[in-house]
Amino acid sequence: MFSLRAGAHLSEIPPSVSIGLQAEVTFAKLLATSSVLCTVKHHLLLFFSVALVVPHVRGEQPILFPHSTHINKVHLKCIDCHISADTSDAATIPGVRKCMLCHAKVATDKPEIKKLAAIAASGREIPWQRIYGFEKGAAVKFRHGPHARHKVPCATCHGDMPNAITAQPLVKHNMGTCITCHRQNNASDDCATCHY
């Protein structure tokens, strides 16, 4: 019952899950004593192996994706992966299948790529952690598209990503950052431009 997931320790599991888990384990032990109910026990094991995914700490990315390598060595542009950044509201994060277009063949022996391949094989997406966002109640609507059309460089808001490893908030944003830039570039500073 304790080989639930490779590398998962009870200490990592949030208390709420862990209490539920101990109760279920006792129940499972009871079930295991009866050979008649062995199929039920098997189902329980299956259930645990699927349901117990330890959440990542905010900001800690599931894969050490090196932005620097992809930009400097492979010469990819931001827009090659964040394909909607110039036209749409959200810049978007590519799906795991996009990664596998190259990494099905490239650098397959590296540990991080093995992790990636495992996720791709499982048919799930990489659980990337969100690093930018607005506070609850900020009532702000940000759209990438208009900023890209006005030729605002990605680095203005996202910092020196060509030399960064995983996604991290290199630039601290607040309303002052936005307003200063808007005023310097003669863009609208009407409240309703962003707050609605």
């Binding site: 109640g137 009532a139 598209g145 208009p146 059309r149 030729k151 003669n186 863009a187 409240c191 309703a192």
Partner: protein, 235 residues
């Protein structure tokens, strides 16, 4: 870098033809869905704690069975001389360059002065954090923020739709076409009783209707200069 401001700003307005309105309230439903407006319990609604950005007023004339009914959709009139604006102590409501009466939710501290001063009673207050019966919380519009409790809110003329159309027009280096912006109420009206457009453009549909002989404004005598124009029922 190019400026985001057009040379001649739009002045958004609406025309509602009362001869066409059947009082079906599709506009009310569409407005709720588009703008993430919360729903009240029947008990709270009975106390007047309801949120609607648009309502349909009914006027009855005559005795049954010879009754004539007039339906009148009433939304924020986006007055040029808006009585709600000067009374706000925190400047949460103001006029933007496109003539919209805007409510900034972050600034609002819920004094209720604006709603008390609105002759059309079209402002609605979030008495509580908004809630929706399951599973309607899944259909929220991501383009509109969800207002917390204690904040006043009102019709925005679907500013999120205006912004989107303006951005699309800008991306295509063309002006916004007449009728391209359709707020949820206009879009959903089966009788096409509502028309939305730029009052600064003399050729727009709203400008032409605004010059119609049937055109009136609600409580015009108060000097609020509303930008919603009603076409009275033909006699």
């Amino acid at each position: 870098m190019a400026t985001g401001n057009p040379v001649k700003p739009h002045r958004w307005g609406m025309v509602i033809d009362l001869d066409r309105c059947t009082g079906c309230e599709a506009c009310v439903v569409a407005c709720h869905a588009e703008n993430n407006i919360g729903m009240s319990d029947p008990e709270e609604a009975a106390r007047g704690r309801v949120n609607h950005w648009i309502r349909v007023d009914r006027y009855y004339e005559g005795e049954f069975p010879d009754v004539k009914v007039k339906y009148q959709p009433v939304l924020c009139q986006h007055c040029d001389e808006a009585p709600c604006e000067p009374v706000c102590p925190v400047n949460a409501t103001y006029h933007n360059p496109e003539g919209l009466n805007v409510q900034v939710y972050n600034r609002c501290v819920g004094t209720f002065y604006c709603a008390n001063n609105c002759p059309y009673t079209v402002r609605s207050f979030n008495w509580f954090d908004p809630k929706w019966p399951e599973p309607m919380q899944l259909q929220h519009n991501p383009d509109v923020s969800i207002r917390p409790g204690g904040v006043m809110e009102k019709c925005t003329f679907c500013i999120q739709k205006i912004k989107r159309v303006e951005e699309q027009a800008h991306a295509g280096s063309r002006p916004v076409a007449d009728g391209e912006v359709q707020p949820a109420c206009v879009q959903s009206c089966p009788a096409e009783a509502m028309v939305f457009g730029d009052l600064n453009d003399p050729d727009s549909k709203v400008s032409r209707f605004a010059g119609d002989g049937r055109a009136t404004k609600l409580m015009e005598e108060l000097g609020t200069k509303p930008k919603v124009i009603y076409l009275e029922k033909a006699r």
